[in-house]
């Protein structure tokens, strides 16, 4: 709690001067940091026609409150599976996952999910897509409170003017922003993003990264963001830590790479930072390593 207070104060008193942000970063990585998600000894097996397939095995990971953490690894290694044990859509065959101190028994609004394919309801307008979620989660709020909540979140992703459109009439990037606004509107403590920008072109992707960080900042960096990605650059630009996974079956965590890159990060400048290049190389090696094992 004390820690929590300190951090908030720093955020309010400063306007993102870099040293103090460094300090925030230090705090984030301090071992005393509150745990938002605790993955303990998690194994997930799927029963198929050809027998049992163990996707991930004996995973242990503590995700801290307010950090941005990425899972990276080859396709099919079990990133989504691991992510879904946090969202509650996949039950671990062994082990447990705790979120905000509670054992996860199923999906819940304390964990917002942005799906890989947006998952908007195509028969509802942009506004109503967010409204159904807000109505369902905040049953006690008044009509006006909910309306202003929806408006604020839609404006945050610059989609207020498009609120009456159906998802079918939006571009991929816009749909993604609706999905993000929807996840933010229910104000989850943990935000789960499964390859959220995978389908976007490079330009839209970049602006979505900035958008995501903006929202995270506006929220005093108190939301925990867990993200799955294929994209090394994206992972480095956004994350505090990057979890590199081994290939399945029985995938495990290969290595956790800690990033001490200061925030706010600038897309153009960051690539020239020697620390960035070092991490980039390391990740590339970790991932390419797997190719040579496979081949």
């Amino acid at each position: 709690m004390l820690l929590h207070g300190t951090k908030t104060k720093i955020m309010i008193n400063t306007n993102c001067t870099e040293d103090i942000l460094d300090e925030v970063n230090e705090l984030i990585h301090a071992p005393a940091m509150e745990t938002a998600v605790d993955i303990r000894n998690v194994t997930v097996s799927f029963k198929g026609k050809k027998g049992v397939y163990t996707a991930i095995k004996d995973i242990n990971l503590a995700i801290y409150k307010g950090e941005i953490i990425s899972f990276i690894g080859h396709s099919g290694c079990g990133k989504s599976t691991l992510m879904n044990t946090i969202s509650g859509m996949v039950k671990p065959s062994k082990g447990e996952v705790f979120a905000n101190g509670n054992l996860i028994k199923g999906p819940g609004p304390d964990r917002g999910v942005v799906f890989q394919n947006y998952s908007l309801l195509p028969w509802l307008s942009v506004y109503k897509n967010i409204k159904v979620a807000v109505d369902s989660v905040f049953k006690q709020k008044t009509h006006e409170q909910k309306a202003s909540l929806i408006e604020r979140n839609l404006k945050m992703v610059n989609l207020w003017e498009h609120r009456d459109k159906l998802p079918g009439h939006l571009s991929g990037g816009m749909k993604q922003r609706v999905a993000i606004a929807r996840a933010f509107a229910i104000d989850p403590k943990v935000l789960l993003l499964d390859e959220p920008f995978g389908a976007l072109d490079a330009l839209t992707k970049s602006s979505m990264h900035v958008e995501l960080l903006k929202m995270w900042n506006l929220d005093h960096r108190e939301k925990t963001v867990v993200m799955v990605t294929h994209d090394i650059e994206e992972a480095i630009f956004l994350s505090d830590r990057i979890v590199v996974m081994n290939n399945g079956p029985e995938a495990t965590i290969k290595e956790i790479v800690e990033l001490h890159l200061p925030r706010p990060r600038n897309k153009k400048n960051i690539v020239h930072d020697p620390a960035y290049m070092e991490i980039h190389d390391r990740l590339l090696n970790l991932l390419i390593d797997k190719f040579s094992i496979n081949d």
Partner: protein
């Protein structure tokens, strides 16, 4: 069997589209040409049979006569063609409505629950192929009236396409949509109204469109058995009165009304097709 019906549904959908008349442009022209072919064949057959089957001209004269007073009412067995048609339509809507009220909820249950599907599917497969005529005595027994029995056989034979399409629609809700409900903690009611029904609505309407076609087909058979009043009775009565012209007129009217009913459901389909706009 379940699958084959769906297949038919799909083919019909494509097939019917090309038959639906649009008021404007070439479609209308083709429709008129098509009617000309019909008249041509008809006239030819009439000529070959040496007017034993009446031709378009003599039929037209009888038609004009009938249309002069379509709604006359001279006792229980002598009513105008308009009256006959109206009472048939009314029965069709009762039977079809009743059938749909059974078919849609049952279809929702079958589509939403594997147990429901396993439990009800054998029942559907056994009852679905039964001819409307076979149901008629049972209807008479249950409702003690020919009118009731007719509505009963329409309901029980027309409900299957709606039921099967509804079940298919619900069963094919993508995991993505279901996950939205899970993640945002939708109540059962919210899931039903915001995900299940909107998603399956186009399928349900396709089912209804097929069902109304079946219902309209069954009405003629039903009324031939039940007598009284109705377009089916009119056909039977005309046969007894040896007026082949009237039978041909009835056939054309039955066809035209069937087409209009189909058009109506086609426009509903377009109005509720969230996936196509």
């Amino acid at each position: 069997m379940f699958v084959s019906e769906l297949h038919v549904t799909k083919i019909n959908k494509k097939h019917m589209k090309s038959f639906s008349i649009k008021k404007s442009g070439t479609d209308f022209l083709y429709f008129m040409l098509s009617m000309c072919i019909l008249l041509g064949i008809w006239a030819l057959i009439s000529k070959i049979t040496k007017a034993e089957i009446p031709g378009p001209k003599s039929t037209w004269l009888v038609f004009k006569e009938l249309m002069a007073e379509p709604f006359y009412d001279r006792g229980p067995n002598d009513k105008g063609i308009g009256n006959q048609l109206m009472s048939s339509l009314l029965r069709v809507f009762y039977g079809f409505g009743l059938g749909s009220l059974i078919a849609i909820p049952t279809g929702l249950i079958m589509g939403a629950s594997k147990t429901g599907m396993k439990l009800l599917n054998p029942l559907v497969q056994i009852l679905r192929p039964v001819s409307p005529l076979a149901w008629f005595p049972l209807g008479l027994l249950a409702f003690k009236s020919a009118g009731g029995a007719t509505i009963f056989i329409i309901a029980i034979t027309s409900l299957w396409p709606t039921l099967i399409n509804t079940a298919f629609g619900v069963a094919s809700i993508p995991a993505d949509h279901k996950n939205v409900g899970k993640v945002f903690g939708f109540s059962a009611w919210k899931y039903l109204t915001k995900i299940m029904l909107p998603y399956s609505l186009p399928h349900i309407i396709t089912g209804l469109r097929l069902s109304i076609g079946v219902a309209w087909m069954v009405i003629v058979a039903g009324e031939m058995l039940s007598g009284g009043v109705g377009i089916g009775f009119f056909v039977w009565d005309s046969w007894n009165g040896l007026s082949l012209e009237k039978i041909l007129i009835a056939i054309l009217i039955i066809g035209a009304v069937g087409l209009l009913l189909d058009k109506f459901f086609n426009s509903l389909q377009n109005a509720f097709a969230w996936d196509k706009n």
